[in-house]
Symmetry: D2
Subunit: 138 residues, 4 copies
């Protein structure tokens, strides 16, 4: 089970409405994703040492309720979809019990310009991600 | 017809891969949207003077090709959907002829906590947005 | 004694040279300052509830050694100077034993547009800050 | 003579006080510096093609008056000091006639880890910068 990623909202992340600027949640998703990959044992340094980059192919975010300066945002990341070449994550962000936003991101893996098959080249990571898929899709 | 919004990519907007960090496109969407509302005669100051805020309800972005430091990004904003209470924009971002990303955003309008009917309170803006809808939906 | 403020460097905070972009240290100074004021019992919410804002009058930063993605930056804040109307902080930022940068900031306190005398209106905060001054200046 | 660099303030650059967050001026300094180096014919691409990086050694900024969303900030860059190995710039930032801030930055030039002598390796750039020094120091 992946531990929830938590972080406080900084003053410079809030806009003139006194709420976290919506663009920052895209950054928080990256923080939570990096933390999750670390927990799985495939942190950025390891992937980079393997010559593998993981560009973002798409993001989306649905804003439900604002968060504010000094509040603690809890982010739970899940695996939403998985193929040999592509992984999709979903995110639930909360302040306490209050839902702040839901979000998704899609990623591929590249060595130079060439797509990397997660299943062949990182079978243990592939398996970990597969086990995180929701039961109906697993 | 809304003029394309253009802006150069700054050094501090690029990441360790030497490309524009994906989160920044969400900010560029806001820049282009502000510019479009100005062109329609309903700039931020005017809406604020009317006591109306326009929070972002959702964003999504599909990344096709990276952009880089000092490249000029051209952003074309269109109206994708429109109801009394909600407007959806779509964005096409290019560097020269090269497609960088496509994106969407959805917005409502609030006075205090109360939703504002665009059609009733800002009929001229509503009409301008309606005329920008793609023909099949107009 | 004020606890050192620690935080990890995020991927989106690094630039094309693969190091933390220099502008971000100005933001880290704010994070550390907010944390210090919280430790002194005069957090942002309390000052805001008193109607007091504390704008930044000046900052400076001397960069000694880069920091990188996922490194933990430790920031020690000290009081450098103090008058009725103005406080100066200094910052030492390290990754492990390696000095990353030294920095300073100056702040006043305003209620509306009027300067606030720290010594008169917040005597306990003034005293705490005074006790943090280096001995020769105390 | 170097042309003034101008740019509008974006919504996402403003904080909860409704003013440009102080950290962003450090980024605007970079924008203006990049523009000045382009005007001198030594843009980033050219320096990079020569294998030369120009890290920031120090910055400072004195905030005089806030700037706000949609205001146009004009930045005038000058050469403040120059040695074989190091250049210092100063910046005056205004909105209309109103002084927003003054600032300084110091830079060296590196090829790999080795300092580059501007005077020896880029004599035309060195001469251009020298001619921009204030008369008393020229």
């Amino acid at each position: 089970m992946i531990r929830t990623y938590s972080r406080k909202i900084h003053y410079y992340e809030c806009d003139s409405m006194g709420i976290t600027h919506h663009s920052n949640y895209i950054r928080f998703m990256e923080e939570a994703r990096v933390d999750m990959m670390d927990q799985l044992g495939y942190g950025y340094e390891r992937m980079e040492a393997e010559g593998v980059l993981s560009p973002v192919m798409a993001v989306s975010c649905q804003y439900k309720h604002p968060s504010r300066f000094q509040e603690t945002l809890d982010i739970q990341v899940s695996v939403k979809s998985l193929t040999d070449l592509k992984v999709g994550f979903s995110y639930v962000m909360k302040v306490g019990d209050s839902l702040v936003c839901t979000a998704e991101s899609a990623h591929c893996f590249l060595r130079g310009q060439r797509p990397v098959s997660l299943r062949k080249e990182f079978p243990l990571l592939y398996q970990s991600l597969q086990e995180m898929l929701p039961p109906a899709l697993g």
